[in-house]
Amino acid sequence: MTLFDYIAVAAKILFIVGLAFSTVPIMVWFERRGAAWMQARVGPNRVGIFGLMQPVADVLKLLSKEMFIPAAASKFYYNLAPAISAIAPVAAMAAIPFGSYLIIGDHKVNLQIASLDIGILAVLAFAGLEVYPIMLAGWASNNKYSMLGALRGSSQMISYEIALGLALVSMLLVYGTLDLNAMVVYQDQSLLGFIPRWGVFLNPLAALIFMISIFAETNRLPFDLPEGESELVAGYHLEYGASKFALFFFAEYVAMLMASGLFITIFFGGYGLIPGMGWVLSFFQTSLSPDMFQNLTAIAQIAAFVFKVGCMMFFFVWVRWTMPRFRYDQLMHLGWKILFPIALVNLLAVALIIAWIGV
């Protein structure tokens, strides 16, 4: 690798980490104000313009508080859990492409930190790591509420990972690749001439199962049983305060960001241009050199990616303030007796269709 490559990778890492770090305060703000708007309230509007500095105030408060470790806690694992929970989703985002490629001089820079052939597996592996902080936090806190939250969280995440995996496999059959970038390229064409060939149009059922599963994976309402306030106080992060709680909080939103990124990459064309953007871009095609046009397209793709992720994040908040929480047995019923069989049948159907007509 040349010096240029190192700088390019560093810049891409900076972009993704920056995206994560800037999304979290915006999402915290939007979560609170969006909740208020959906409930005919005003929400926090005192700190800064529109209350936009509220998350900054929250974080400053959390960081300046005392770092407290319960006497009965297992100190090493207690400290390890929030670190893993914050790192895992950020690491998973490394394999998600956020644009095609830039041309700088005679270098081609892929807008993806790690251009892996098995990108989807890397993402799933890091996303799978998110079970561990919940289990570690619940166990190491030595508190019965944390323990119960951790048990619920781990069994829920493992149950829904199966439906998620099967929905994903059906899409992998359609795309015929494990490379996330290749999936986006596949979806970039049009279906029947007028709609984009997005996964959601090819297999809406898999999209639905996948979406329900990522809600469960990120422990968002209606599946936020690990931290069910009404019965478990705060669940697995009950014993955490100050900056360690801030890390869990951060992790929840980065996990949402990562899950949204994965979801749109597989089902909504990833960084592929939103219908209409290509038409606008075509006006510049003649006036710019091919390299510059590619760069402009890449920037438009990044914008499209951010816009799609933003829509998905809005959906997360929207669902959170609409749905009531599941009862635990209902959650397991939905996961094992409904989503799992549907995902299996869906996989079989997709396999048969591909075997007969081929894609």
């Binding site: 969006g34 208020a36 005919a40 309230r41 005003v42 609409t322």
Partner: protein, 165 residues
């Protein structure tokens, strides 16, 4: 009469998805209404204030006549009727030169203390007063930084009050 709304469960209701979509529609509608039409029910308190009823019983005051002399004649009726025991009056005689109406107001409260921390805002003192002297205003912003300030003396009670009186 209560209106009884019946809803027949259709086949679609078994799959929950339509019901979820209806729920999502409701929240999105409210989101739009609050954000773009400004239909929030919140009152931004220090800037906007809730308009209470004309009969709201808030902070006490003692009415005064045009010469700023209090109407109170220290008859002790309010102190007697007060269920919370928060009024303490010391009666005295008004000096001749201070009394603009001759014999009319020769008895006066030397001190008139109301302990607002004990007061239960029942309004009995106001009802008992034969001179309409003690009254409850509509001011409800009575928070203080220490307990001493919450014990109102005669000077505080004789202040100008907006609203009823």
């Amino acid at each position: 009469m209560t209106k009884i709304v019946t809803y027949k469960e259709g086949r679609l209701d078994k799959y929950y998805i339509p019901a979820l979509l209806v729920g999502l529609k409701v929240t999105l509608k409210q989101f739009y209404k609050t954000l773009f039409l400004g239909q929030a029910t919140t009152i931004n308190y220090p800037e906007e204030k809730r308009e209470y009823s004309q009969r709201f019983r808030g902070e006490h005051f003692i009415s005064v006549d045009p010469t700023k002399t209090e109407n109170c004649t220290a008859c002790y009726l309010c102190q007697t009727v007060c269920p919370a025991d928060c009024i303490t009056i010391v009666a005295g005689e008004r000096p001749e030169e201070e009394n603009p109406f001759g014999v009319k107001k020769e008895k006066r409260p030397v001190s008139f203390d109301i302990d607002a921390l004990r007061c239960c805002f029942c309004g009995f003192c106001e009802e008992a007063c034969p001179k309409d002297a003690i009254k409850l205003s509509r001011n409800y912003e009575m928070a203080t930084l220490d307990r001493e300030t919450a014990i109102y003396d005669l000077d505080h009670l004789k202040r100008e009050v907006k609203g009823r009186g």
